[in-house]
Amino acid sequence: MSTTGFNSQNGAGGGQAYANGPSQNPVALQQPPGVGYGMTHQAPYNLMQPKAPMPPGPGLYHSGPYQPVPPVSSYQSSPPVSSYQAPPGQPLLTRPPMGGPLPHTPPQSASPSPGPRMPPAQATPPPPAVSSNSYYPNAQQQQPPMAHAWQYGTAPPPMGAPPPMNTPSGGPVANHVNLPASSTAPPQSSTAYSSPPQGPVSHNATQPPGPGMPPTSLHGYTHPGTAPPPMNPMPPHTYQPGRPPYGPPPTGPPPTMKPAPPPTGPPMGSATPPPPKADGTMAGNGPQTPNTYNHVDNKMAGPPQSGPPGRQLGHYPSLPPGYQNTSAPPSSASPMHPPMPTATQPYTQAPQPYQQPSAGPGPAQLSPSLAALSLQSSTPEALRVVNLLQERNLLPPGPIPAPTPCLPQDLQKINCNPEVFRSTLTSIPQTQSLLNKAKLPLGLLLHPFKDLSQLPVVTSSTIVRCRSCRTYINPFVSFLDQRRWKCNLCYRVNDVPEEFMYNPVSRSYGEPHKRPEVQNATIEFIAPSEYMLRPPQPAVYLFVLDVSHNAVETGYLNMVCQSLLDNINALPGDSRTKIGFITFDSTIHFYNLQEGLSQPQMLIVSDIEDIFLPTPDSLLVNLSECKELVQDLLKSLPNLFEKTMETQSALGPALQAAFKLLSPTGGRMSVFQTQLPNLGVGALKSREDPNQRASAKDIQHLSPATDFYKKLALDCSGQQVAVDLFLLSAQYCDLASLGCISRYSAGSVYYYPSYHHAHNPAQVERFQKDLKRYLTRKIGFEAVMRIRCTKGLSIHTFHGNFFVRSTDLLSLPNVNPDAGFAVQMSIEENLLDMQVVSFQAALLYTSSKGERRIRVHTMCLPVVNSLSDIFAGADVQAITGLLASMAVDRSVSASLSDARDAMTNAAIDSLASYRQSVLTIQQPGLLAPACLRLFPLYILALLKQKAFRTGTSTRLDDRVFAMCQLKYQPLAYLMLMIHPALYRVDDLTDEGALNINERTIPQPRVQQLSVEKLSREGAFLMDAGMVIYLWVGRNCNPNFLTQVLGVPNYTAVPQNLYLLPELDTAESQRTRAFIGWLRDQRPFFPTLHVIRDESQLKANFMQNMIEDRTESALSYYEFLLHLQQQISK
């Protein structure tokens, strides 16, 4: 009989003491080396949970965990007991066929605003309505030549060189004396990552994140008859054969973009309950398990309740002044966003249930008929026709939730969390031709190793899988009877093994459908030895540090050594953990740290042509045995090279040496590089022509100059070595070439342009926080990820950092919780008789404790056969994310302008297809379904994103880094990098605030990214993912200046302010709480820059004003006209 231990695990999930967040359990237990798998680890835990009541029963499977606390299990909002039925075969999915979309002509409103902005289509587009206050960067009010500026991508009239944006604010790292006192900063960082994002991490049990809509708002779209030119039936889309189907079909409801308040991920640090691993032996552990559960439960239950309700109250009616004057309806179009309690709008009510199914109890209580009703009525909402030319305020006031697939309640309840697994189309088209018609891309976005606060872990001697396709048993299989189950991917009928008949949760026999594997769409198995090709490797960390003159000048070495010293006990690992160091300039230096030496011994190898390891076995040493030597080395390292005059950098040979050192075990190599490598193999030349930075012509050199790094990365991948690259350089470093080393070995790239310990304190702080997270976050070694999908679907292309080993298998030498992946899918065989299809991502990895584990995510989506259903299920954020990845590939393989055209075409084609095939009534204007209303905005944002923009000065490395980010970041963070969030912060109130851990977090509404929204009297916070700008208006409320910034007046605001003073005022606390909350939601540390009119960074801030025109790019309105023109052609 199987021993199945079930326990909840906190994000840290890996298993034992994982530090999910950065530092938490330093207590990690030490195991004797050589521990194999089946050990019981005890949860070393927890500091934080003592309060929770402890249910008694220790023992192994304590049902404890599972039952008493139903809501905990993240994916099931209702008691898990509800019996599972609804095998795919059943006709559950009856989705009423939809007629045409509802013709919606919104009531006319009085607001004239759109009027003036609608010139006949071809006239020269008026400058954005900014006019009077010209915050507008170099706004040229008149731009005659613009008339034909519609062709995108081609050069718009250059208007003078834009100010150089990325110039290092610290100045080029010149000769500065260096070495900050070694104490810089380490200590404080602890809060950054560890404070749990607010509470509820569970997907379903929480309330929907989105703030409500203004309860009273009426739709006031103007509908002037005059405006847009009449549209004719659409011509066949302008798809060009040459281009890959870039944007096939259109999409759907908005995905959540940013910090969705409640469900934000895993509280990273703090509350990780150690997974008590249950196998039979763990007596002592028992009590802890339940404990954990309850604890989490509390967490979840608490905040959400208090939070959301608060937000719904009267927050929105009082709009920021700026908002009221401008055009009409505040956010009229956001009906998609969940909580709209009192909504008066006709459309908004219906959708509610549809959107909210995830919102805990609500839907669960609906009677079936009601639920059916809600399904029906919701469809029209996603499809409500929006005339983009007339409705200006489309941006919802808060985060955008992921659309909910149109599945029966009981399936949806257990479906995978959209933060982990998300599809661009929540309704899968039945055939490829239907998909081609919709012109929306079909794909998946994954964040498979995300830190989860709740993760059931199962230890079982047999893992139940389909015998033909090897799918893991999951909630979407059907049980034909007690003894047989039918695979939901290949439809083979399998036997239920004997062990599986016993349910450890309820300790009952004969209920296989109640096993945790069948109740959770995300689950982790502890794998038995069949899943190992070799004994699990220990955690091995190798640091490869640049110590050339340039590197020493930047002073980064101190920071790295100090961070390592501080976190040396928090490195994930067990008693077998190994560590090693290599430094290099024009030679390679190894450090012998063998036990017994009185101090570290440096060994220099100057023959970089034929690199060898001087003493192969004492360079990587056991961390716990040699900790003192390691600490000695870290303390002395920064001083060792203080006076170096060596300017050359032999990165290639150093990497080869590091690879040799790691190849017997595998592990993680962290490379710190500060200049262009110019010696030995892998030497690179500067390819950037600074004069071309602002070129509107094609950008060259986006692809690698040499394949040395790629080949080395493939070798590394074969030996289970991942390379993480930290690039700290003021000059061009050819990231396009260097980045390959991380890209194909599943590493990550960090880039700190113009890092300098004294000149760029903001960058230093960011580096320090990132390092801390990097060193202490969870890590999985020798991993592979396989993505399976229902027969008929197949994987087209993968995006992310990895090596593709076969059509559905990714090789990931390391996997970390901050990595995202995207997959393009295609439909090879028609899905004719299917009502649902499933996708399963299985990640097999070795935890830092030397345990082989498998994390399995399964997602189920409905199949539809009408275009309108496809559009209704489109997830606009996921589509944007996938298009961004596709565009990056295109820029490298073809050209940047090609990629830009492809993105524009994606928007044109999908909207054209919608107009042609779905709309029954042809109205004038640029029509989009409500779920795609943000699509043109996001596409425009992408075109203006650092990675793809043209005509604005962008350093090549910045551009390439932005591209890396687009492919690598999970969607939630990615969306902020594409479309930043703008908040007004000078009038923060506690109204509608969230309450998390006793902290009150105000929730200002998200503003459109237009200078029009800025006012000189206010202060605005722009959250662009990696960086946060606080823009202070010239006539800013003096109260804000004194209470928050701590300065008497505007002129006293310092030029380079990157820290808010900790004042003891309510305003200051609110602002800091809000910024802190934004930061806590992501695994990297965004720097804060306070900006005033004269600031250097103002240009960067203004470039993020996506809806405005810049010298080289269209405004949002112009872009819409362009789309409209193309569509009606």
């Binding site: 890959p244 692809s703 690698p704 100059a705 040499t706 394949d707 040395f708 790629k710 080949k711 493939l714 074969g718 194909y744 197949s794 994987i795 087209h796 292309t797 993968f798 090596f803 593709v804 080993r805 076969s806 059509t807 559905d808 298998l809 393009q824 295609s826």
Partner: protein, 144 residues
């Protein structure tokens, strides 16, 4: 009936085309294995890459022979393929070794499909040219 240089060219081309047919079959099998997961892309690229240049050179070689033999029609039939080979090799990814295939991109469905299609087309072309050369050889032998 005389054994002319042209006849010699045809005979040589006949033999070499037979070799090219084997190359094409090998290519098709290799990509099929990739698609069905039997092989690791790195190994597969390592076996395929060394064969690319020999194939192109063989084809180039008998094109030159036909040129010398003034067989203009035959040459003109082969010119498009020759041009394709040149283009294909010019636009290959950045690589230090010879060859065309990059293990990091080869698994991309578009590229995989393209390579497979390329294999089939070449096989068809070589087969047809095989018979054409046979015919050409006999014709030259008979007519002279």
């Amino acid at each position: 009936m005389a054994f002319t240089f042209a006849a010699f060219c045809y005979m040589l081309a006949l033999l070499l085309t037979a070799a090219l047919i084997f190359f094409a079959i090998w290519h098709i099998i290799a990509f099929d294995e990739l698609k069905t997961d039997y092989k690791n892309p790195i190994d597969q690229c390592n076996t395929l890459n060394p064969l690319v240049l020999p194939e192109y050179l063989i084809h180039f070689f008998f094109c030159v022979m036909f040129f010398c033999a003034a067989e203009w029609l035959t040459l003109s039939l082969n010119i498009p393929l020759l041009a394709y080979h040149v283009w294909r090799y010019m636009s290959r990814p950045v690589m230090s070794g010879p060859g065309l295939y990059d293990p990091t991109t080869i698994m991309n469905a578009d590229i995989l499909a393209y390579c497979q299609k390329e294999g089939w087309c070449k096989l068809a072309f070589y087969l047809l040219s095989f018979f054409y050369y046979l015919y050409g050889m006999i014709y030259v032998l008979v007519s002279s």
